[in-house]
């Protein structure tokens, strides 16, 4: 008997997001950046907001439209956006994938 890996587990989502971020960061030659749950988008990765638009497109594509990053950010306050960590995005993605209607 084989077990199917849980693709909505936080560890799996973190791995997916890290992969997407490395692709975005690759444009700056920073694809070896260490990405962990407490990594901050702004302070640690120095991502520009236009890079986050690219990440948003990747999230939408990877999770078949179940993750709406723009909607998530629009609900946050400015100081929360500045302090946003990878972990908080992971939690949001997990909640999208496990909500009613998720697969």
């Amino acid at each position: 008997m084989t077990t199917t890996p849980d693709l909505s587990a936080p560890e799996a989502v973190l791995a997916d997001i890290s992969e997407m971020l490395r692709e975005v960061l690759g444009e700056y030659g920073l694809d070896d950046a260490v990405i962990e749950m407490d990594t901050k988008f702004h302070e640690d990765l120095e991502l520009e907001s236009i890079d986050l638009v690219a990440l948003s497109g990747q999230l939408e594509q990877h999770y078949d439209g179940r993750v709406n990053f723009a909607e998530f950010i629009a609900d946050l306050e400015l100081d929360e956006i500045i302090e946003l960590t990878v972990g908080r995005l992971v939690d949001y993605v997990v909640s999208c994938l496990t909500s009613v209607g998720g697969r």
């Binding site: 302070e43 520009e48 907001s49 236009i50 986050l52 723009a70 909607e71 629009a74």
Partner: protein
């Protein structure tokens, strides 16, 4: 991410569908960002998702020389930006009049678009923005000239890094690429400005939003006086960055505005 070829340039466009609506032809809202370090991201992460969720088609694009759009060496007069917008709407198969929402310079482009193509514009929302006049041109010339001059020196980057953090420095570098390596800083102030008749020819509804602490706030009165159908709103406690600092306030002004100027079409078929 969608890259399109329009008006002889590569433009980065983001589209979000009208959600939660059964309307056959939902309204289209087009977001136009400001100059320098700005990009479509400032709308994408503030107003785009709520507007899409409210049953409106959303289009946001990077102006030439900004974000992920092409960066030609020259061709940065307002007419070029207006041409890009026109070609982008055609390329995206947008039919019927649209609601243009511009932040800062984006609002200036929106207004000039309405002068050139009044039949394509249902309404304009100008955030911290004013029409292209002789006074506007002189002010922009000073601002852009100083910014380009300052950024031209490598030392400036060191100073910015030291005082404002590396992030701002990278943003400043990105902006300086366009400001220093293109004719943007001289082209924009050299744009053809509007005559009084052209300004007064804009008869579509205009919503002008300003921060109370911005030096542009005095424009509220001027625009209401000069334009046939202009309403102005001053948002207390904010300067020029009212869009990113108070997105929910701007959203709460924008959604009913579009509904009002769609003759109630937005609400048709929208679940309660």
């Amino acid at each position: 991410m969608a890259m399109i070829d329009a008006n002889g340039i590569r433009l980065h466009v983001q589209r979000m569908p009208a959600k939660n609506t059964a309307a056959e032809r939902p309204p289209t809202v087009v977001f136009i960002h400001g100059l320098g370090t700005d990009s479509l991201a400032s709308f994408y992460f503030t107003l785009a998702a709520p507007v899409s969720a409210a049953g409106m088609e959303v289009l946001a694009f990077d102006l030439r020389g900004h974000g992920r759009s092409g960066r030609p060496e020259s061709g940065y007069r307002i007419d070029d930006f207006v041409g890009d917008l026109h070609a982008m709407l055609d390329a995206m198969d947008v039919e019927g009049p649209v609601h243009l929402v511009g932040n800062s310079f984006g609002g200036t482009v929106a207004f000039s678009y309405a002068v050139a193509h009044p039949e394509r514009v249902a309404s304009i929302v100008m955030i911290e923005s004013e029409p292209a006049t002789t006074a506007w041109s002189a002010k922009l010339g000073g601002l852009l000239g100083r910014a380009a001059e300052q950024l031209r020196y490598e030392e400036a980057f060191a100073w910015i890094t030291e005082n404002q953090g590396a992030h701002t420095s990278r943003l400043a570098k990105a902006a300086s690429n366009a400001l220093c390596n293109t004719s943007m800083a001289t082209d924009i102030p050299a744009s053809r400005v509007h005559t009084a008749e052209e300004i007064e020819s804009v008869t579509c509804p205009v919503l002008a939003i300003f921060g109370s602490e911005s030096d542009l706030a005095v424009q509220a009165q001027v625009m209401e006086t000069r334009l046939e159908r202009c309403r102005s709103v001053i948002v207390g406690g904010h300067e020029h960055s009212v869009l990113v600092e108070a997105p929910k306030t701007v959203r709460d002004l924008l959604l009913p505005w579009v509904a009002e100027h769609e003759g109630g079409r937005v609400l048709e078929g929208t679940p309660a």
